[in-house]
């Protein structure tokens, strides 16, 4: 589904150039469950941003289902993100002024969907997540786990083929973390490509394909077809 070819991305920090991605080549097939691990500054977040079209490479090519994306304008990339990629963030990134339902409906709103249709969809999704009674709560009235579940629901409401999660459990206690991971993995089972960036070794191990990064390079890429650990 995704082919990254020789992707380079460097930043200038002070008077030093940091190569966050150094000739990275990576293929991702549809339905894969991938974890990206590595120390801070290894380039794993940059890789995720690259996959999510939030960042542009200095060189290299990015093809999504055979279509070259590096030449797209920022506006086209935004539209592409909306339709094809769901994001999960460590700090949830819910808008504090909007209710759970309001946050959930944001992507639909950006599309211009009618309020009635939006309401119908969000009600269903919230029910699926067991958050029906929290629909009209503001983020600060929700627990961390609940907030992250709303964020996942928001990422999935337009049914994108790929979900990118950046430390999805980083701000959660163990119990909520496990719950969130279960939801993500269930989504993967239903056919969605899932890419998780994490520090958490236990979480990283659960993925079927594990990528390790160091200094902007992929230093390890191992797959295990076995699905036992995902119970």
């Amino acid at each position: 589904m995704i082919e990254l070819q020789d992707i380079c991305r460097s930043f200038v920090v002070g008077d030093e150039t940091v190569h966050a991605l150094d000739h990275v080549t990576l293929d991702i097939a549809k339905g894969e469950y991938i974890s990206i691990m590595g120390a801070s500054g290894s380039g794993k977040s940059t890789l995720l941003n690259m996959l999510g079209l939030l960042d542009e490479p200095n060189s290299g090519s990015y093809q999504f289902q055979g279509k070259e994306l590096t030449t797209l304008s920022e506006e086209k990339r935004a539209a592409f993100r909306r339709e094809n990629i769901g994001f999960i963030f460590q700090s949830f990134h819910l808008i504090p002024r909007l209710t759970a339902a309001g946050n959930l409906e944001l992507p639909l709103m950006l599309m211009g969907m009618s309020p009635a249709e939006r309401r119908k969809r969000s009600t269903k999704v919230l029910a699926d997540l067991g958050l029906s009674d929290r629909a009209h709560h503001l983020p600060k009235q929700l627990s961390g786990g609940q907030q992250q579940r709303v964020a996942i629901a928001r990422a999935m409401i337009l049914k994108p083929p790929m979900l990118l999660a950046d430390e999805p459990t980083g701000n959660l206690d163990t119990h909520s973390g496990t719950e969130v991971v279960k939801i993500l993995e269930a989504l993967n089972v239903s056919g969605i490509t899932l890419v998780v960036v994490t520090h958490d070794v236990a979480l990283g191990r659960r993925a079927h394909r594990r990528i390790r990064m160091l200094d902007g390079k992929i230093v390890q890429d191992e797959s295990s077809r076995s699905n036992e650990s995902a119970t």
């Binding site: 592409f80 993100r81 909306r82 339709e83 002024r97 709103m109 950006l110 009618s114 928001r154």
Partner: protein
């Protein structure tokens, strides 16, 4: 994205930082209230002045002796060698569409009755004053239609003269002394109060021929012509000019139509109101700077949120519009609040000081509202553009 959704999002963020919203809107509101109130006072002054000038009716053309080029009283009104005569006044009456012609001579004399004396204005006129000047007799009748040279010594007195000379008595049929002559009072005018600083009640009207002999004058100070409503004023003015030039052999007179005066006066007062509105909008400008500041702060505070929206696929245009909407709602709210405040203060002023003319200039109210919202949008545009052009990664990462 739907307009209602923009509005919803804008309102939600304005509600979220309520105090800040109120204070920003208050800034705009003060400016708008100032503009509304000041233009209401300006409009009131305008109405008042125009009302004063149209007291005598709108279809009057005045002819004065002498050619005046500059403003003010021409020396020719006081004395001149090419007089405006009674015959001129009579002749002007025959011009088509001229309904009446009042010759005027004005003087200043003590008027006596019994042992009471009052210094007052004495105006020599003819019987056509009530219809021409739109002033009516309250008691008795006005001067009769008599051949000018044979006019009898009759007088019609103003309301104040009646009070001063005939307190509690009926003046009709009584005699008053003006200069060395006796006049019989045949009417009392209705009270009109001051018009343009001239007390209309402190006047004695006598036949013009009598006034000319009383003041030893051979010419008139003014001729007032009433023309039929709806007729072409320009054409009538041209005819008057032609007629008088024929009689006098040159243009030694000045024609002033009510429309001229109203036009000049109107434009002066309009400028005045505009200046006053301009003064008020200094505050509006400062309010605009306020919106700009607050919107800049809002953008700075919400960089992360902007990043999220970008990640969710919002276009630059959508982000810009979102912040513009917020700025517009902010200034619009302030505008409405300011308008209501300004209107209420204007109304209260009018209520407590009825003498103070207040007239709300809706043009300016509307203009001020539009300017307020436009100010808000312009002030919001730069921060909004800044928000939209932020790189999504940077925005998400910012603290």
């Amino acid at each position: 994205m739907r307009t209602a959704d923009y509005a919803m999002l804008a309102f939600s963020s304005l509600r979220f930082s309520r105090l800040r919203t109120y204070l920003t809107a208050l800034g705009i509101a003060v400016g708008i209230a100032a503009v509304v109130l000041l233009t209401a006072l300006g409009g009131g002054a305008q109405d008042y002045m125009l009302g004063q000038f149209t007291q005598f009716g709108a279809h009057i053309i005045a002819v004065n002796p002498g050619k005046t080029t500059t403003m003010g009283v021409s020396g020719a009104v006081i004395s001149n060698i090419r007089p405006l005569s009674l015959e001129d006044a009579e002749g002007l009456r025959r011009i088509p569409n001229v309904r009446s012609s009042v010759p005027v001579v004005q003087g200043n004399s003590p008027v006596e009755h019994g042992n009471r004396t009052r210094w007052t204005f004495v105006i020599g006129v003819n019987h056509e004053v009530p219809q021409t000047w739109k002033i009516n007799v309250a008691q008795g009748r006005f001067l009769p239609n008599e051949k000018l040279e044979q006019a009898r010594n009759l007088a019609v007195i103003g309301y104040k003269i009646k009070q001063e000379l005939f307190p509690g008595r009926n003046p009709l049929g009584e005699f008053i002394r003006i200069g060395q002559e006796r006049f019989r009072v045949i009417g009392v005018m209705e009270s009109k109060g001051q018009v343009l600083g001239f007390d209309m009640d402190d006047i004695v009207y006598i036949p013009v021929y009598r006034a000319m002999s009383l003041y030893n004058r051979e010419s008139l100070m003014e001729v007032d012509l009433l023309y039929a409503a709806g007729r072409d004023e320009k054409q009538i003015v041209e005819r008057i000019k032609k007629y008088l030039i024929e009689r006098h052999g040159g243009e030694d007179f000045t024609i002033t139509s009510q429309t001229d005066i109203l036009g000049t006066l109107g434009s002066i007062l309009t400028i005045l109101t505009a200046v006053v509105a301009g003064l008020g909008s200094i505050s509006l400008l400062v309010g605009g700077v306020g919106i700009f500041t607050i919107m800049s702060i809002a953008v700075n505070e919400r960089i992360k949120e902007i990043g999220l929206l970008r990640a969710l696929g919002a276009s630059k245009r959508q982000i810009t519009l979102l912040f513009l909407f917020e700025a517009a709602v902010l200034s619009g709210l302030g505008g409405v609040a300011g308008m209501l405040t300004g209107l209420s203060i204007a109304w209260l002023m009018h209520f407590f000081i009825p003498a103070l003319p207040v007239s709300v200039s809706w043009d300016y109210v509307l203009l001020a509202e539009i300017i307020a919202i436009a100010t808000g949008m312009v002030a919001g545009l730069l921060p909004a553009r800044k928000a939209a052009s932020m790189a999504p990664v940077e925005a998400l990462r910012s603290e």
